[in-house]
């Protein structure tokens, strides 16, 4: 008897058999598979109570109602609010991505001060006392007028508070971005100097003539426009899109008129010619809006025959006649303008030529037409009190003549110490203003810049002090919306979650600075905090706004109240000329807007960036769209690199060939090329605004540049 190899073999077999009959292998196998589901990088959303809260989106000027879905205290989804007068349950990709702006890495988490070129966290007390001291010193030195402010919009209580602060402080230098509504207002004879805004009753129109308007590309209130255009399909409404590029709107229209860029006003006058010649106009309307009509009529009939217009616009005379007749004979036709998203104004000549069509057919202030509405002035605050310092200082000339924001950078660059302190709220001028290089140069010249941005955008990055605002999901604020809506509405944002970081409401910050300034400035701000200021200022609107989240300002003007339209006598060249030498740069560069890219002061969140096709952005390169024939002429091929040169800058781009663009035109996507925000957005593509500069409308001074001369050379 001896223990040998066989015994150990037997031991092993026994052990194997025993193990197989024990839970060990089976349980281990099961656990191993479960373990693979629990790797720490697998996101597991925490469970909790589901709740829905209504609020208003502020990410563009559309003012959609939103319903925010939360699990316990965490926002998980933003949906469109049902039965909201603006968007009735719909939401766009930017609104949907708002959660990423709330929780994303781009938030500024506390007040920050730039020390030796890098931002350092400071306390609110330190930040506010620094600002107050600076403001007091400047005032004592009699330099109140060198304090300026840029706001994203001229409406709403926060913008109004900032303007009020500047006025009480003694500075006339408050600026905000011009919009298409300024052009509309200027083409009317103003009743009591009140601003007139347009309201398009597109839901009830039966013929829409769009001059480059990005109806489904983000114009006006984007979700409302998409919903309206969806309804047109079932109503057999005819949409005519005049645009040099086959945009999404053009692709969806019943007829696309690929006019030469910038000739929209001339085409409108050609159409007006047909209406006048064939007496398709509404005599009653003309009798009312009679200012300048006779001379205008003579000029249009004399100089804008469709044959002549066809030569300039590239749209054949037969089509102009057909469109003119259809428009003149339609029951509720509407002519609409504002290129792409409509964020840049058009010249008064162009606005007048296009809106004249609405006036001619008598579809102004009628169902299915264009409404001329008064500005919704709904904020009532006590009068501002001024001391002598403020009164004297307010007499100083504005740094940028006419209060036009696009004139500010060059004014700063040309004069020394014109602005010593700048506030920027709800705006990102270092990205959105054209000729960005000059803007940044001017910005750097200002000794002290204060940004109220919630996000680390281009302007915040270049600022000396950031006083971060709560995100729109963390604060109360009124959201006035006009954006071409039939009736303006006021929405309300509500705090959906408690502030995640050490941020402060900009309204509260302005009030605390004003109160710390003492004297007449303090007495101009008699509120404890922003909430009280909002509540008191909104008066009768406050309770309905708080309860329903939105108030619609219905306005049905008496006939006599309708602001009269002024027929402007068209000169020889009603189109805005482009910057650049035609002989040296024979191509025309135009921007293209898309719902998938945010081109305003809010950068596109990561989710949005994922929706961009590789015909717009590939390998972090911007693709420009050109016609194959243009490419052939320039010896360019699909996907190759080229140097795009404009009088303002030059950039390396990639080429994308498309039949959907006219010859000798370059279409450039707007909304790329951020240098700030986060790694999801920064360094991707080129900012269109760097390539273009302001071109002023001789009538209004507004920046109406719709493109620029350019050249493309193979790289």
């Amino acid at each position: 008897m001896k223990i040998d190899r066989r015994c150990f073999l037997s031991l092993g077999i026994g052990a194997a058999a025993g193990t197989a009959l024990s839970p060990l292998p089976w349980k281990l196998m099961d656990d191993a598979s479960i373990w693979t589901q629990n790797w720490p990088w697998t996101p597991v959303p925490p469970d909790g109570e589901i709740s829905y809260t209504d609020s208003t989106c502020t990410l563009c000027s559309g003012g959609c109602g939103i319903t925010v879905r939360k699990i316990d205290d965490r926002v998980v989804k933003i949906e469109g609010r049902e039965n909201h007068p603006v968007n009735n349950g719909g939401i766009c990709v930017l609104g949907l991505s708002g959660t990423q702006l709330l929780y994303g890495p781009t938030r500024v988490k506390s007040p920050m001060k730039k020390i030796n070129g890098t931002f350092q966290k400071i306390t609110w007390n330190q930040a506010l006392s620094e600002i107050t001291e600076k403001l007091l010193t400047l005032r004592a030195e009699g330099r109140s007028h060198t304090v300026a402010a840029i706001a994203g919009s001229s409406r709403g209580t926060v913008s109004a508070l900032l303007q009020r602060f500047l006025t009480a402080y003694g500075s006339p230098n408050f600026y905000c971005q011009s919009s298409i509504e300024d052009s509309f207002s200027l083409s009317h004879i103003q009743p009591q100097n009140n601003k007139t805004i347009p309201g398009f009753d597109l839901e009830n129109a039966d013929y829409v003539l769009s001059f480059g308007t990005g109806i489904i590309d983000g114009w006006g209130s984007p979700v409302r426009m998409i919903q309206a255009s969806n309804a047109w399909k079932t109503k057999n409404l005819k949409l005519i899109q005049v645009e040099p590029r086959l945009s999404d709107t053009a692709a969806r229209s019943d007829e696309w008129l690929p006019s030469k860029p910038g000739t929209e006003a001339i085409l409108a006058l050609g159409i007006a010619h047909v209406i006048l010649q064939e007496s398709l106009y509404d005599q009653a309307a003309i009798d009312y809006h009679s200012e300048g009509f006779v001379t205008w009529r003579t000029a249009v009939l004399g100089h804008y025959h469709p044959d002549k217009v066809a030569e300039i616009t590239g749209i054949d005379a037969k089509t102009i006649f057909t469109v003119g007749r259809e428009f003149g004979q339609a029951e509720k036709p509407v002519a609409i303008c504002g290129r792409g998203k409509g964020n840049t104004p058009v010249s008064v000549a162009e606005m007048s030529a296009i809106h004249a069509l609405n006036v001619l057919v008598g579809n102004v202030n009628k169902k299915g037409g264009v409404f001329t509405l008064p500005e919704p002035n709904y904020i009532s605050w006590p009068e501002i009190s001024f001391d002598t310092k403020a009164e004297t200082s307010l007499q100083t000339k504005q740094i940028a003549e006419g209060g036009l924001l696009h004139r500010l950078p060059s004014a700063i660059n040309e004069a020394e110490d014109s602005v010593t302190l700048l506030f920027v709220a709800d705006a990102n001028p270092c990205y959105t203003l054209t000729d960005t290089k000059e803007v940044i140069r001017a910005f750097k010249k200002i000794p002290f810049k204060v940004s109220f941005s919630s996000y680390m955008d281009e302007t915040a990055k270049l600022s000396d002090l950031i006083l971060p605002n709560h995100s729109y999901l963390e604060r109360y604020e009124d959201v006035p919306v006009t954006s071409g809506l039939r009736n303006p509405v006021i929405g309300l944002t509500k705090p959906i979650v408690n502030p995640l970081f050490q941020t402060k409401h900009t309204g509260d910050v302005i009030i605390s600075i004003a109160r710390a300034m003492k004297g007449s400035i303090e007495s101009s701000f008699p509120w404890k905090n922003y909430y009280q200021c909002l509540k008191n200022g909104l008066g009768q609107h406050w309770n309905p706004l708080l309860n329903n989240g939105v108030v619609e300002i219905t306005y049905i003007p008496e006939f006599e109240e309708i602001p009269r339209f002024a027929f402007q006598i068209p000169n020889d060249k009603p189109q805005v000329l482009l910057e650049g030498n035609e002989n040296k740069m024979d191509l025309t560069l135009i921007p293209s807007d898309s719902m998938r890219l945010s081109s305003g002061y809010i950068g596109a969140p990561p989710f949005m960036m994922k929706t961009i096709p590789d015909t717009i952005l590939k390998d972090n390169n911007t693709l420009v769209q050109i016609h194959p024939k243009t490419a052939e002429k320039l010896e360019l091929k699909q996907g190759c690199y080229a140097i795009l040169k404009t009088p303002r800058d030059e950039k390396k781009v990639k080429i994308h060939l498309s039949q959907g663009i006219g010859e000798d035109i370059i279409s450039f996507p707007r909304g790329l090329g951020h240098t700030a925000y986060d790694s999801y957005l920064a360094g991707k593509g080129i900012n269109f605004n760097e390539l273009i500069g302001p071109v002023e409308d001789p009538f209004s001074g507004l920046d109406v540049a719709w493109g620029i001369r350019a050249s493309l050379i193979k790289a």
């Binding site: 008897m1 223990i3 194997a16 025993g18 656990d31």
Partner: protein, 217 residues
């Protein structure tokens, strides 16, 4: 002779062989059934102790008084601090755990990080409303008589998966998928077995749908 000797040797060794087999077999059975489960699971104490029995005497609606259904039909699960605060803003009784609860959580407004014995993986979709409201099942059927307990048992969890031991079961027969009580185990097969027994098929009763995605979302 040679053959005989060999045969004799073989017979002599087979005793050892069998003995070694038995030793190997029993040792591995012992390791697999006794040692392995002990090694596989680790224990944690709940952050504070809780007396279910005592609380049951103070509430009107049984388990649902604290473990309620929300208005939209979703199940609230383990109570949040906000429910406890109604009574425990101040210390009510004389237990050390209650004092600790008030001091550590109530006064700081901090949620108690309860360890949940019945927590299923995130991919498992389970509707309490369908089972309790529609099928009129008792809480005890799955969760046992926890409502009668005077203190919370230690939370045993699998060191590989992190899940509670209550899912796999504690008793030896549970290892084979067998159980004495309905609440002994909470694995997928237990769901399927109960559905088969009660409804005649493994599918969801309300949707009448079968397949993985009925429960695994």
């Amino acid at each position: 002779m040679v053959q005989l000797t060999n045969s004799h040797k073989g017979n002599g060794n087979s005793g050892w062989t069998i003995l070694f087999f038995i030793v190997g077999f029993t040792a591995s059975l012992f390791a697999g059934w006794i040692v392995f489960p002990k090694l596989l699971y680790s224990k944690k104490q709940q952050p504070i102790d809780f007396n279910h029995e005592l609380h049951m005497t103070h509430v009107d609606n049984g388990c649902e008084s604290c473990h309620f259904f929300r208005e939209d039909g979703t199940y609230s699960g383990v109570p949040k601090l906000v429910q406890c605060i109604d009574c425990h803003q101040e210390v009510q009784g004389d237990t050390g755990h209650e004092a600790l609860f008030v001091e550590k959580y109530v006064s700081k407004g901090k949620e108690v990080p309860w360890l949940i014995y019945s927590r299923q993986p995130d991919c498992v979709f389970f509707s309490h409303a369908a089972h309790v409201k529609l099928a009129k099942m008792d809480c005890e059927t799955c969760h046992g008589h926890i409502g009668q307990s005077t203190s919370l048992k230690p939370y045993e969890y699998n060191i590989i998966t992190g899940y509670s031991r209550d899912i796999w079961g504690k008793n030896p027969e549970n290892y084979l998928g067998l159980k004495t009580n309905t609440y002994d185990r909470m694995k997928m097969n237990d769901c399927a077995a109960c559905h088969l027994e009660e409804t005649g098929r493994k599918s969801s009763v309300s949707t009448e749908k079968d397949g993985c995605f009925v429960c695994h979302k």
